[in-house]
């Protein structure tokens, strides 16, 4: 981390103590940190300082976090990590649909935050050139030839299953909402058909031998969506 030029992180939260503690944790990890206490200040910071990543609290005093996100997305495509309170699935989905890349539920651990941030920053570095071959765990995917190997043995995926897998690989480390995936693969009329998605996830996990837990590559975010991680970290 120290070798690369320091990434610039903008922390947007109205609680001063939270901002201070995030600053300690992020500076310790080698990031450069700027703070904003409101949506208005945050938008100014993004426009002038062009941060590499924004950590955005959904419950801001002046504007709702989702509004900030929409305005922010007009300015630039910087990755955004949302901080949200528990039991607010609708808020999380709205934020993700408005362009957030991932979220964390408060109270979260510093280690979790750093892991998510690293994944998002890594994505920015590599998303431009995904390459034709992609490897995760024992799985090798040839995106152009539409071939999948598991431990060197070919795996038969249906055309739709491959489409879903490809979408995850192209959006790795990003949290995709159910609605977003359904819309992309089956079209707008299928946005409510989560049964399709459950079925395909079951098939893909079975065929690729992926575990349905934190050690797996396809992570479930309850009631919200799925996140594909190329390097899963087993739960502490």
């Amino acid at each position: 981390m120290k070798k690369e030029p320091k990434s610039n992180i903008l922390v947007v939260d109205d609680e001063e103590q939270i901002r201070r503690l995030l600053r300690y944790a992020l500076e310790e990890a080698g990031y450069e940190v700027r703070e904003a206490e409101s949506g208005r200040v945050a938008l100014g910071e993004v426009a002038l300082q062009a941060p590499d990543l924004v950590v955005l609290d959904l419950g801001l005093p002046d504007t709702h976090g989702t509004e900030v996100l929409r305005a922010l997305r007009v300015i630039c495509p910087v990755p955004v990590l949302i901080l949200s309170v528990q039991d607010n699935e609708t808020g999380k989905i709205a934020a993700l649909d408005a362009g957030a890349d991932d979220y964390l539920t408060k109270p979260f651990s510093g280690g979790e935050l750093l892991a998510r941030m690293r994944a998002l920053l890594r994505r920015v570095g590599t998303a431009a050139a995904p390459g034709n071959n992609f490897q995760f765990g024992p799985i090798q995917v040839d995106l152009e030839q539409r071939r999948v190997l598991r431990n060197g043995q070919p795996v038969k995926l249906t055309a739709q299953e491959f489409k879903v897998l490809r979408m995850f690989i192209m959006n790795r480390d990003k949290l995709l909402t159910h609605q977003h995936i359904l819309n992309e693969i089956w079209g707008p009329h299928a946005r409510e058909n989560t049964n399709y998605l459950r079925y395909y996830m079951m098939q893909i996990r079975k065929k690729l031998g992926d575990e349905v837990d934190s050690a797996g590559h396809f992570q479930t975010e309850t009631s919200v969506g799925y996140r594909f991680v190329s390097k899963p970290q087993p739960a502490a």
């Binding site: 528990q86 039991d87 609708t90 109270p107 049964n195 934190s214 309850t222």
Partner: protein
Amino acid sequence: MPDPKPTPGRPHGALRDYSLVAGVMVLVTVAGSYAPLSYHALGYVYLLAIIALSLSIGRWPALAAAVAGAMAWDFFFVPPKLSFAGIHFDEGLLLTTYFAVALIGSQLSALRAELYRAGLLAESERMHQTLLDSVSHEMMTPLAVFRSAIEQLETHDAEKRNRVVVELQIATDRLDRLVGNLLSQNRLESGVLRPRMDWCECHEVVASARRAVGSRIGDHALEIEIPSDMPIFRADAALLEQAIAQLLANAALHTPPESKIRVSAAVKAKPKQIHIVVTDTGPGVPVEIREAIFEKFTRGPLARKGGLGLGLSIVRGFMRAQGGEVSVDTAPGGGARFTLSLPNDEQAPVPVG
């Protein structure tokens, strides 16, 4: 007609009271005309009826009963019959008694209602105080740990510092769970809980619940048994996940270390239901409290000190919000077996391709 203003504390009883009065008076009059009684004796039957009525109704209906009784007795029974004449000193005295009795009786009835309400209020205040006491105890304990731990962090003994950090972690988790439970309970009681029913896959829900329990599972061996042909079903995944997580955490807390906890799932045909079952090998739940443990602020006899007794009431609230239920019985081996059931009326259409 007397003013039909409802008696305080019995706002909707006025109409019922008047109907009762009319009914009883008609009954006494009809029965009196067939009974071989003197009109004097019948006067006392009316008095008895008024006493009985006034003890259970408001003041104005009681007075109405006195008026109706007096008129009926005089008109139908006091000679000359079918006329209001014939009232002398004796009859007049009895009629006065009707009104006195009506007033005294209804006053007693009002007093009784007042006492009953006061009793309820005292009970609710006592509950409130108990709740406040236990919430503040549950909050102050982790805060006391924080304060003491921060002081002890100044030590240079690395091993001691690590021990203190572990205590801080435990206290933080405890406070986190407490606030989470209070918020969930509040969500249930304030009626803002809107379940988002969607298709759920059992492996995913159980894995998420396992993740939510985190280190609270301790060194218990968790066994997950989900049939390979388990269908997807309708539920609010977030609520179901929290219900399972609560049962897992309870099982880990109330059973010996390293004992086995099992989560299994099944489809039932009659009625069409999905069952998710959490079984442990602990002491089980005594039959006599199997219903009570799902009430809030109720804790089992073997429960450790601390905690508010909200966990299982939240589980039940979350399950009922989804149209499901939770129940407990004894596993064949003797441990507690909690069953979460959900309706399974809809079949998920399987996509083609």
